[in-house]
């Protein structure tokens, strides 16, 4: 435990960036196919999956964290297998908070993706097929570029949401610098311990950093839009 200040914030910043990027990347890879299936399928099963996948938003983060804590403990299947496989504990590790972030941000990736996909003109898919494009090819060459805006939107929500994530990580992170002490936790710590100036500085930094990311993403979106019109 590091009781000294200073480089704490910088470590926390990099950790946050790493966590947010990993979460966004993994969620996009996983959710794009899932959302596509959800948008196309009309079955009751798909509807059920869609609803389940949205559930993590309604659980207060700290409560979600509490249940994850129980799920991560070495007595459970998940915790036990993870420990057997890696020799490490899931809670209080980077992979633990990554896992939690994935669950927590899942709905924010799925929802916009699905809305985008369901709006796609299905005739263009027929066209790609008639030109000999296999399903995956068609998806990559037609669906993804046309739905670019929705995908960027989903990635944006995921990223920002993970940066601001707090309650879950508070529960299962253990506040370990360089491993689980993300910016949001460090910031809250500062508020709690009455170090207001430090808190204000960090909040300002977080906002400026996020603003930059958001502006870049929005520029991408707008650039794309202009070209399509």
């Amino acid at each position: 435990m590091n009781f000294a200040f200073g480089s704490t914030e910088i470590t926390a910043f990099w950790l946050t960036l790493k966590l947010a990027l990993s979460t966004t990347l993994i969620l996009m890879l996983f959710c794009i196919p899932l959302a596509w299936w959800l948008a196309k399928s009309k079955s009751w099963f798909a509807m059920l999956v869609e609803s389940i996948v949205a559930l993590p938003i309604v659980l207060p983060p700290t409560v979600l964290g509490f249940y994850l804590l129980i799920a991560f403990s070495p007595q459970t299947l998940l915790g036990e297998h993870y420990q057997a496989l890696t020799g490490q504990q899931l809670a209080f590790s980077f992979y633990g908070i990554l896992f939690a972030s994935l669950i927590y941000s899942l709905p924010f990736a799925i929802q916009p993706l699905q809305a985008t996909f369901s709006q796609l003109d299905k005739r263009l898919i027929e066209t790609a097929q008639s030109l000999g494009a296999r399903p995956l090819d068609c998806f990559i060459s037609v669906v993804l570029p046309i739905c670019k805006n929705g995908i960027i939107s989903a990635a944006l929500l995921c990223f920002a949401h993970t940066v601001g994530e707090f309650g879950v990580i508070l529960m299962i992170g253990g506040n370990i610098p360089g491993e689980t002490q993300v910016l949001s936790i460090a910031l809250f710590d500062a508020v709690e311990s009455l170090q207001y100036e430090k808190a204000h500085n960090m909040a300002a930094g977080l906002l400026i950093f996020s603003m930059v990311i958001l502006i870049i993403m929005n520029m991408l979106k707008r650039g794309q839009q202009r070209a399509t019109d």
């Binding site: 009781f3 209080f92 311990s193």
Partner: protein, 235 residues
């Protein structure tokens, strides 16, 4: 309107019972708002409509008094929290901790930066090991003492410095914990009456009730100690 009491979350359970009795005995209504002492403190500074503040430490009530938000002579120590070393099945024995355990054993602790129980734990460790910096990789810091307990209780850490009150209210078997009797393991919890209270008399009456034999019985039953009979001076 009922009397509004803001209570640090570690004391919410005993307080609920005490208030049940209090309402029965006096007919006066009391409502509870609970959060960590830190959050309650922020809220009070922003004008929260509480009458009485039961903190988990002495620092925050003192700060409120300094800021002229609470009556100086209303401050009482309503309970003294006791730190315990909790390790199910005695996986870790406190006195046998070695520097070589660093990184191998995880110990759950409340954040000493702002949680009073965390500070107490840090003090105990310092007393035992002088230089605790060598245990860098050992500690898992939580934001409050309830999560500190939950981390051990759920099996995610083999041991932790927790509040005795949590041990007692979850009926942890006696062999799984060790009460720390050093003075440094004590956490005096102070209460104050807030200046914005519209019903000082009711607030005072309630605070006085906290030192009644019935209330003390409850407080002790939950694993706290009390200091000399508390009296609320004239305000």
């Amino acid at each position: 309107t009922p009397l509004r009491v803001a209570v640090a979350s570690n004391f919410k359970l005993p307080l609920s019972e005490i208030i049940n009795q209090y309402q029965e005995n006096t007919g006066n209504e009391v409502s509870i708002s609970s959060a960590s002492s830190g959050i309650l403190y922020q809220q009070i500074k922003a004008g929260a409509p509480y009458d009485v503040f039961l903190s988990a430490d002495e620092l925050r009530p003192d700060l409120l008094i300094k800021n002229d938000l609470a009556y100086e002579n209303s401050k009482v120590i309503y309970a003294v929290g006791i730190l315990a070393f909790y390790s199910p099945n005695k996986k870790v024995i406190l006195n046998e901790l070695k520097q070589s355990d660093n990184d191998k054993i995880k110990i759950s602790i409340a954040n000493p930066l702002h949680a009073p129980y965390g500070l107490a734990a840090k003090n105990i460790l310092q007393e035992l090991f002088q230089n605790i910096e060598v245990f860098k990789g050992t500690f898992i810091t939580s934001n409050n003492i309830a999560s500190t307990f939950q981390i051990v209780h759920s099996g995610n850490a083999p041991a932790g410095f927790v509040a005795l009150s949590h041990i007692i209210s979850t009926k942890v078997p006696r062999q799984d914990y060790q009460i720390l009797s050093s003075d440094k393991a004590k956490v005096p919890q102070a209460a104050v009456i807030l200046k914005r209270s519209k019903d000082k008399a009711a607030a005072k009456k309630f605070l006085t009730y906290l030192s009644s034999p019935e209330a003390i019985h409850q407080i002790i039953g939950y694993g706290y100690e009390v200091v000399k009979p508390i009296t609320v001076e004239k305000i």
